[in-house]
């Protein structure tokens, strides 16, 4: 039997222990009892034997006495003295009957039979048992068991005294079942008297045994003679057996068999055994019940704990574990409950972190998408028509650039609060990243959505005042309705995104998605199209800003910066079109164009013997396409035969933080190419040291806001110093951006910074200008 539960095991253990003890005890008791029973049976038999012998002596004495009284009877003596055979025979018969003898004989002093009531033909023949007379001569009486024609007699011989013996008289008492019964009554044992008959076969003359046992005993006698074992089986029952031989007048062997059923001796012990058996059974039953109760007490709370653990496994942390016991299990349950509490609160925290935007406390992109999915699911069942509003702040980049990130962050927080304030509780607001927000309205018609959009605009148009500075932010809002503008999360978001860019482009405040905003129309309508055209028409050009390797005092690297010669607007800086390109997903085109141009230039320099590392900026969106960009870069390196080490890729810290897991994987691939990876704008993205350690990057670029403030702000100096130390400790080289004074360069040199970049070193320059500049800076 396989035992799977603690309860069964406990019960099994207890019960098997008790059963084992009882079985051993029962075995011992039974063995002991049987020994005692045998001993006592043997003792009883021996006692019986002695009693039997005494009884026999007594009965013999009684017979002899009777015979003596008879022989002393005057009339009898007188009759004997007459010497008249007929008279003597008659007297013998008469007096024999009086003495209850079944055979009488008179024997002369010459030992010749004078009369015989049993066998008259023996008259005048010598007496068959002369030994009896010899003994009687000596003792005045004698007796023996004799077999006459296979009938057993107790023969007593006494003299007829007048007063000297004048004859011998023999009295025969037949030994039969009555004799045996008499002896049995007195001795309490089965008595059998047997002798070997004249024909050699054994004869049972007298017995108290019933018929079938008698036959069995006879069989034993025929087989073993007088050498019967101490225990013999009679019809299936064991009898303790003792054999004694009886004195006989002739040579035949006559024996007395005393018997007692062994079971008789065992009977009281059997009663004891059965009492013990029931007692054992009762104790086993009690043990089963008791151990079941104990086991239940142990296993019930364990089962409850197991159930609770299973619930936790399934994610249900809400049910408290209730075990009232005060013992170890109670303690275990209490700690288990604490653990449940801990897990619940930690999971809550994890969920909060996973679905919350750390800065504003609003939902993050993931949470927003989940909620949207849920709302769409509900809407699909019918009745409701949710809508999505995407917001992009119009002038946030400028605030960030001019007032710094801390101010920008505070502005974002403020905007979050304003958005929440304008919405119903059933609506939800999320910050998707950067200055992008989204609103989900689970219900409401177009009019309601329009109202919300206007309310949001109004709320955001109110100036934001932070540290005494007033800012005008304003936002462009793109709106998409379910199911009109998309039946799933991606489609809806995309529609809202397009609508938002339309609104931004047209500076209309908000725009509802329209299917007419297809790609062609858009390319005509939007900057997107212009960007594409710029790429196609080669309106983009590259500037290179030198980086000073401080240690060597030489320019060993340049950062490639893209510029747009807009046909109408003139030269446009990357800050004005790169974010747009990122939002519209066309950044990939620009990045590829930049990579191709920069790698080609690098190869040109390389072949010309000018060893300049060229750093290219990569956006967060570029990182999202895991395979494409690394493959494109690898191909560019190969086709221009540029060593990977001469190419650097710069990724902003905030881009890394937008999708840390995705960034990690793409960085691994880029790192595998052998290119140098730099973290751009370091210090603005709140990235943790631990995260940084995991990224396969080679270089940190300290954000220019820290470098430019070094001279006036000791705190910025400290940040720069600690960043350099941190970078070095992580085995990274450190680049300082925005170096605009000699003081800053000296300070950086003192702090052990590896590279310096900025207007103090050299401004971004077209290729030919740079080449000339380099020749001037490093005359050969």
């Amino acid at each position: 039997m396989a035992i799977h539960s603690v309860r069964q095991r406990i019960i099994f253990l207890f019960v098997s222990l008790v059963v084992a003890i009882q079985v051993i005890a029962l075995g011992l008791i039974t063995t002991a009892n049987q020994q005692v029973a045998r001993d006592s049976s043997t003792a009883a038999l021996q006692r019986g034997e002695r009693i039997f012998q005494r009884l026999q002596q007594q009965s013999q004495a009684q017979l002899e006495q009777g015979a003596a009284i008879l022989s002393a009877d005057f009339a009898f003596r007188e009759a004997v003295a007459t010497n008249d055979t007929a008279t003597i025979a008659s007297a013998l018969r008469n007096h024999g009957a009086r003495a209850k003898a079944s055979a009488m004989m008179l024997i002369s002093l010459e030992r010749v039979v004078r009369a015989d009531t049993l066998l008259p033909e023996r008259v005048n023949t010598p007496f068959a048992y002369p030994d009896l007379i010899k003994e009687a001569e000596k003792d005045g009486k004698s007796s023996a068991t004799v077999s006459i024609n296979d009938v057993l007699f107790q023969l007593v011989v006494v003299p007829v005294l007048a007063p000297d013996p004048i004859a011998w008289v023999g009295l025969g008492y037949q030994v039969d079942d009555a004799t045996a019964r008499e002896l049995q009554q007195l001795s309490g044992m089965d008595v059998t008297i047997a002798s070997a008959g004249s024909a050699g076969a054994w004869i049972l003359h007298a017995t108290t045994l019933p018929e079938p046992l008698k036959a069995d005993l006879l069989r034993h006698l025929q087989a073993r003679g007088t050498l019967l074992p101490n225990e013999i089986d009679l019809v299936g029952e064991t009898y303790e057996t003792r054999v004694t031989s009886l004195p006989t007048g002739a040579g035949n062997s006559t024996i007395t068999i005393l018997q007692r059923p062994l079971a008789e001796g065992l009977l009281p012990f059997q009663r004891l055994n059965s009492a013990f058996f029931w007692l054992a059974l009762a104790s086993v039953a009690l043990t089963i019940v008791g151990s079941a109760v104990i086991a239940r007490k142990i296993t019930d709370p364990i089962n409850r704990l197991a159930l609770a653990a299973d619930k936790i496994h399934q994610g249900d942390y809400s049910s408290p574990i209730v075990v009232e016991q005060q013992d170890e299990i109670g303690t275990l349950a209490a700690s288990f409950d604490q653990m449940r509490d801990g897990i619940a609160s930690r999971e809550k925290e994890i969920r909060r972190l996973a679905y919350r935007d750390g800065l504003t406390g609003l939902d993050n992109r993931a949470m927003f998408q989940e909620r949207l999915e849920q709302v769409i699911r509900i809407a699909k069942r019918g009745g409701s028509y949710p809508s999505v509003l995407l917001l992009d702040l119009d002038r946030f980049k400028a605030i960030n650039d001019t007032l710094g990130h801390p101010v920008g962050d505070m502005a974002l927080k403020e905007i979050g609060q304003r958005l929440v304030g304008t919405l119903r509780a059933s609506d939800s607001v999320a910050r998707l990243g950067g200055d992008e927000f989204a609103i989900l309205l689970p219900t409401g018609d177009a009019a309601h959505v329009g109202t919300v959009a206007r309310k949001v605009q109004t709320a955001l148009e109110a100036p934001i005042v932070i540290e005494g500075q007033s800012m005008d932010l304003g936002a462009s809002i793109g709106i998409a309705y379910y199911p009109l503008h998309g039946e799933d999360v991606t489609a809806l978001m995309r529609s809202a995104d397009i609508a938002m860019y339309v609104a931004k482009h047209e500076k209309s405040g908000y725009a509802v998605f329209d299917p007419s905003y297809d790609e062609d129309r858009k390319s005509n309508l939007t900057l997107l199209g212009e960007l594409r055209r710029a790429v196609e028409n080669n309106e983009l050009c590259m500037l290179y800003q030198p980086q000073l390797k401080i240690e060597l005092g030489r320019m060993t690297a340049v950062e490639a910066l893209v510029r747009w010669h807009h046909p109408a607007k003139g030269l446009v800086g990357p800050g004005e079109f790169i974010p747009f390109a990122e939002h519209t997903g066309s950044i990939g085109i620009i990045t590829r164009w930049v990579v191709a141009a920069a790698v080609e230039q690098c190869g040109y320099w390389h072949r010309a013997g000018l060893s300049l590392r060229v750093s290219i900026n990569i956006s967060a969106r570029d990182l999202r396409e895991r395979e494409g960009l690394p493959a494109f870069i690898a191909e560019a390196l190969r086709s221009n035969t540029v060593p990977a080490g001469l190419i650097g890729l710069e990724i902003t810290e905030s881009a890394l933080m937008e999708d840390p897991a995705g960034a990690l994987a793409t960085l691994e691939r880029l790192h595998a190419l052998g290119v140098t990876l730099s973290v751009d704008d370091y210090g603005t993205g709140y990235s943790s040291l631990a995260y940084l350690k995991e990224l396969a990057v080679n270089e940190l670029k300290i954000d220019q806001t820290f470098v430019m403030g070094m001279e006036s702000d000791r705190q910025n100096l400290a940040i720069v110093r600690s960043t350099i130390e941190l970078g070095h400790n992580l085995g990274l080289s450190v680049v300082a951006e925005g170096v605009e004074t000699e003081f800053e360069l000296r300070a950086l040199t003192r702090l052990g910074c590896d590279f310096a970049q900025g207007y103090w070193i050299g401004r971004p320059m077209p290729v030919d200008e740079l080449e000339a500049w380099l020749r001037a800076a490093h005359p050969a």
Binding site: A72, F74, R77, E78, V80, A81, L161, A162, P163, D164, I166
Partner: protein, 223 residues
């Protein structure tokens, strides 16, 4: 042979002497010689209570017995244990005990029975056949006495020394016989010739010791 530690031993001895005197005095005085017989065992021990009697070889006129010979019962015993009488003697059985006795004999020489009595026996018994008469008491199994009835007046019983004197035996030829109640062998009859001077005879007799049967002691009432 006879108890001497009982109160009536004196009476017993007197009676015995009296019997001897009577037996002696019944013969004619100084008419014959004496046969001095002696009986001993093969080992040479004296044998008492042996009866010696002389049977005349020739038919002689013999004197008839005239005296009544007693066998008393004293202290639940027959006294004497052994008697010899001439055929034709009358015997009496006086009871000297305070209790009754029942004297009987199943002997062929004389079968008789005197039922319970006390004092002098109600009947006298004539012993008219020669032979041994064994007397018993039906009350007291141990009581036993022997009477040798002989066809001659010349008999005597050996004393403790084994000697016996047959007196006043007329001269002549006799067959001298010996008898003892427990004899086993020996004691062949002897032919003797009695002259004036008398003769001596000696017998060797194999005798079993007397086996007394158990006699219970008297109770407080002397019964």
């Amino acid at each position: 042979m006879i108890q001497s530690n009982i109160p009536r031993s004196g009476v017993a001895i007197a009676a015995m002497l009296c019997g001897v005197l009577l037996a002696v005095s019944q013969a004619p005085p100084a008419r014959g010689a004496t046969i001095a017989a002696h009986v001993r065992s093969p080992a040479g021990a004296a044998i008492a209570d042996a009866v010696i009697y002389a049977l005349p070889a020739a038919s002689l006129p013999l004197p008839k017995p005239t005296l009544k010979i007693p066998i008393e019962q004293i202290d639940r015993e027959f006294v004497p244990y052994v008697s010899a009488v001439q055929t034709g003697t009358t015997m009496v059985f006086p009871n000297r005990d305070p209790i009754r006795h029942h004297v009987y004999s199943f002997s062929r020489a004389k079968t008789f029975e005197i039922k319970l009595y006390s004092g002098n026996a109600p009947s006298e018994i004539l012993f008219d056949q020669p032979g041994v008469v064994t007397l018993g008491c039906n009350i007291h199994d141990w009581m036993i006495a022997y009477v040798q009835v002989v066809d001659t007046p010349y008999f005597a019983k050996t004393d403790a020394q084994g000697g016996a004197q047959l007196v006043n035996v007329p001269p002549g030829k006799y067959e001298l016989k010996v008898w003892h109640p427990t004899q086993k062998g020996g004691g062949e009859p002897q032919a003797v010739v009695v002259g004036q001077a008398g003769v001596a005879a000696s017998f060797v007799l194999d005798v079993a010791p007397r086996k007394r049967r158990y006699k219970p002691p008297l109770d407080k009432m002397h019964y």
